[in-house]
Symmetry: C4
Subunit: 254 residues, 4 copies
């Protein structure tokens, strides 16, 4: 078994496709956004990726059927546009630093074969506090894309994030650049404490504007509401247990 | 030295064989079951497997003779049945997650060469309490096998075990599925604190019913009795040291 | 992706070049020295080195542009001298011990291709106290170079450093020797607590004397002054908080 | 760089050579014995072994000259005997379990090329107390060698050492056996607290009897005396500091 095994169901002929990556990370922002996009454009599964550096197990799902540990590739044709779409999504990043490099390298080799023109990697940007209206930060290997994305409201700050962009979201851009495929990382602000469908929506809004496609955000908004309800409940429970005695509370002793 | 070295004494022509795996795990249920099956059907050793990811040592046995660290392959022909049998047994699983994937991949490649039709992986399901009549849980890559095994009393629960099936028992099913060889994992309930011949017996009962072969369980039953004796002794010693003072004990002070 | 990927922009024809290495280490002495040398002789970038054993990320720099994690190769021709110069510099050494060996091996293979005659590896020698006039210690694979360097004031002590020379600075000499390319390590004394431009200057003075080239040290001296200012400030703050009560302080209570 | 690089200065034609291994381990018994044997029979260096799995550094020795991290191969011809001798000695075993397997495998491949007939691996057997007259324990892949060595006083106990034989001393026997080259491990009893030249002597006495060669043990005996002197000093210092107050000590208070 090689480090990565690509099981391709099809090698589609695509029109200058744009590759979008959404693997697990801070707030699961990238993964939520990519999965929502797949559903909204009704993208088609065309490949699965297995690795000796994924967790060595299978999971058990519906009715006791097993599922392999894998990432998946989808595509969507837009006959009236300049660019088709490829979406990489899944539950895993490699368990070793070497595998993270080799995964990005293999993906870029496949991207070249499929004629990929541009890459968008999606992720969250942990800010350590609750965020009501998440902004979208960007980083890119291409000065022109920075200008285009600034017009869509994306914020580019020198040296931010200070820790760099770790994992597939960073390496697909870095290795893509080596092979002349440029791209950008879109990072939605998020607390870092919860999965954050609201941040995923902010990221997707930028991406779909850039791609000039229209999608429905209701499902993400529903998920965001449910997460908010749970966090409100937690906050109210915490409040009850930790609150400072108020005037009201002190009356009893008065 | 490659990651896995298969030393084959023979490449037997077999009739649509079924592969049974019993490597170390919770309660050593799978290993005990597979070893008992080998003995009962008088299976023949035909290959040994060495790996750079097994512990780097030899063991010293009878008369000071050394033994290599290895797993072993056995087969048994059943001329009057539809399926012959291959049994994989041994004392080790690979020390790294990569080797667990590569081992399963290599085994499935060999399985294809030998014409394997179906796979059974055997193991224990730790429940954290003593179990008198262990049930057998299952997971499978094949809906049809789930139906067949349900009729033999195997229990299939959605998402159980929650942690998935780790190691060879899971990966042989997952990678087998990639190559079109389907199978099931049979997990005997066990405390997880002791080796559990009684759970091994429960697993073997299901497997031999499925295979329509008859074997003797006396030896497993003997082992189960011996384990029970030891655990009873431990329990009685523990009781003496930890018991709450009874009426009787208090009399002296009365 | 291979363990190391060399992206060569040019394979220059050089005149018996001398290879100088300055990668991160104690007090960043080697890196500071090599970077200063590149700037002073106006050396030209001709290759970049990527590795699966570098940190799996990209960094974000000016204007939000990403930078890959890499080391870099520069050269400088000296048409009137016997030896041209190659300088290896960067921010990383491999994350595993295997990659440190393989990096050195790959570099020596490239060095042979480029006709490298001699190697200088630069580093710091941590002494655990502030050093005003850092001495330069040496170690070499070549008795003749030891004699030459002694005349330039380099100190060679049997068995020093006692811990050996770890990483690229050691292995380039060790593996170079296997292929008949000899060299020396120059280690500037340094506290080990701060980056040390002053120690880098001491190392460069020896190296440029050996190479018979003249460079300007002002910038390193400026950096050294700035580091000194900061350390003075830290010392004075520490003093204020930890000082024993003086006569003056006690008067008030008198 | 491959995992192991063998730099062979010569591929000597040897007469059914016996391979003797003495790498670092408990009490450094094997290494001391092998080094003494090399010196006594005046064996000739014919190869050096480098590895990406040795520590990534060079050491600094006499006059500031660097030394690579390596193991070494020596041979000695005995024209009047049936077997020449090959001795493997050095300061390192691989840093990973995989490299221990691959080292043994590579050595056995070389051993086959050189026509090796038999293997002796030398080591210490830690018993946790000082040993005046160390016995020699054995383990072997060959029942006939067990009989021969028993006659020379070697002790073979079922299942001893209980932890097996770890590292090169075990794996050379295990992998040798796979290729039809049989051998034995000779383990001298030793405390496990000090280097133990006395135990090395015991092991060498058995080996040289088996090989029917005569060597001088003076140097090992000298080393043993020096180690004994140091341990005596330590014991006397410990005694002074930990002794119970004697009658004499108590007088002052009387």
């Amino acid at each position: 078994m090689r480090e990565f095994e690509f099981k391709m169901y099809e090698l589609p002929e695509l029109n200058s496709p744009i590759l979008v990556e959404g693997l697990p990370g801070v707030g699961n922002v990238g993964k939520l956004a990519a999965e929502h996009l797949i559903e909204q454009v009704d993208a088609k599964l065309f490949g699965e990726i297995f690795s000796v550096d994924f967790p060595p197990q299978v999971t058990v799902g519906e009715k006791g059927l097993i599922s392999e540990v894998k990432n998946s590739l989808y595509y969507k044709r837009f006959p009236k546009k300049d660019n088709d779409l490829i979406i990489l999504v899944g539950d895993y990043q490699g368990l070793t630093h070497q595998s993270q490099y080799r995964f990005a390298w293999s993906m870029i080799e496949l991207a070249r074969e499929l004629g990929v023109e541009r890459i968008f990697t999606l992720g969250g940007y942990g800010v350590g506090r609750l965020v009501d209206s998440p902004r979208v930060l960007g980083a890119s290997s291409d000065p022109m894309m920075i200008d285009e994305l600034k017009e869509l409201g994306v914020i580019f700050n020198e040296g931010e994030p200070g820790s760099g962009i770790v994992g597939a979201s960073g390496l697909l851009l870095g290795i893509g650049k080596l092979f002349g495929i440029y791209g950008a990382c879109l990072m939605g602000e998020t607390s870092g404490y919860f999965v954050d469908p609201n941040s995923a929506k902010a990221v997707l809004k930028v991406l779909t504007s850039y791609l000039e496609i229209e999608i429905n955000f209701e499902e993400l908004e529903d998920k965001a509401r449910r997460v908010e309800e749970i966090t409100e409940q937690i906050k109210s429970v915490e409040k009850q247990f930790s609150k400072e005695p108020s005037q009201e509370d002190l009356k009893y002793f008065g």
